[in-house]
Amino acid sequence: MTRLHFLVLTLLTASAMTASARAAEPQAQLVIKNHQFTPAELKVPAGQRVKLLVHNQDLTPEEFESHDLNREKVIPAGSTATIFIGPLKPGRYSFIGEFHPDSAQGLVVAE
């Protein structure tokens, strides 16, 4: 086996492993509707990176913002955004929709 073959094989194996790691990665879903988050309290596993999918079903954009999670992201109307969060220590992390802070509030609970 030449060096090049070995390199290609290694890369392929590595990328396959990364892909399977990604597939196994915990996911969580949030829906924004009527400027409110559902669920308002979201449980995620602690100590792991979590792929958070936020579906904005309103006709207006929203900004997912959390000082506790150190995240902020604008989600256009009718679109789904991916936000990677954590790994988190066990605890409660609040987030808001910055464009509608009075109604759009929620908590991530890591345990």
């Binding site: 990176r49 954009p61 989600i75 256009p76 679109s79 955004a81 790994p87 988190l88």
Partner: protein, 274 residues
């Protein structure tokens, strides 16, 4: 209306402060107003395009397209700032010292600080796109008049703070003023680096040091007026991650180290000098 005004104010502030700093730093530069104006207009035009494409961009790269675009914008801005701080401003300082002129760090019309123009345009672009998205979304709802009035108040408020900073800097004697604006530009660069770290972590590109290091929101909340200002001016975060702190510190080290290195090299005799 007040809610709209506050959000737009926050979005406008960072770009307005940066334009204020650059306007002060380039005070002696011929044609500076037209040049700065062009940067703002280019950035604003770009913001409209970026906002219009937001839906498409958001869906790219499995939902992290927006973070990648932000990261690209921030990277270019950071590279321009580092290049400018380390090379251009020092060459300008050297040229000014040679001419025994009072220290315009940018030279007297010899060099146009193009890198800064790009950074001005990019900061207006980034903050502007979010503002446009927000205002357009809000205005499609119920009370358009009060939304637009709120947005106007927000933009005027942000711009006023930028102007205030400019007026303050303009009162400082020229020699000290460049020292002050240099520090402000360096802090701004570090702040851009910290935002870049967050964008990359959020997109899942960089996963190291993702935990927040401390929470100083009890002493200085990000929502308070001072917290908002220090965040916009120097990238203050009440709950920074390790990665953000590393990016911030590395940028400051790079700027200070690079500046020293370039100055030391310029002092060293390199062949015959006229």
């Amino acid at each position: 209306m007040l809610g709209v005004a506050i959000i737009v104010f926050r979005e406008t502030l960072e770009a307005a402060l940066f334009v204020g700093i650059i306007a002060a730093a380039t005070r002696s530069l011929h044609g500076r107003s037209a040049w700065l104006g062009a940067g703002v207009v280019l950035g604003a035009a770009g913001a409209l395009i970026l906002a219009a494409a937001a839906g498409h961009i958001s869906a790219l790269a499995d939902g992290v397209g927006q973070d990648l675009v932000n990261a690209a914008i921030l990277s270019i801005a950071l590279a321009m700032l580092i290049w400018h701080c380390v090379w251009v401003s020092n060459q300008g300082a050297q040229a000014a010292a040679d001419a025994r002129a009072l220290g315009s760090a940018f030279g007297r019309g010899r060099r146009k600080p193009w890198a800064l123009l790009v950074v001005v345009a990019l900061s207006v672009l980034r903050e502007g796109a979010e503002t446009v998205l927000f205002v357009a979304g809000y205005a499609s709802g119920s009370d358009q008049g009060s939304t637009l009035a709120g947005a106007l108040v927000g933009v005027v408020g942000g711009t006023a703070v930028g102007l205030l900073l400019y007026a303050g800097l303009a009162r400082v004697p020229v020699r000290q003023m460049f020292a002050v604006t240099n520090v402000l530009v360096q802090l701004f660069a570090a702040s851009i680096a910290s935002q870049l770290a967050r964008a990359l972590a959020q997109a899942g590109v960089l996963n190291a040091w993702g935990q927040t290091l401390w929470d100083s929101s009890v002493w200085l909340s990000m929502e308070s007026p001072v917290g908002t200002l220090v965040h916009a001016l120097a990238g203050y975060e009440a709950q920074p991650t390790g990665l953000q702190l590393a990016f911030y510190a590395l940028t400051l080290l790079l700027l200070l180290g690079g500046t020293r290195w370039v100055r030391a090299r310029q002092r060293a005799p390199v062949g015959p000098v006229s």
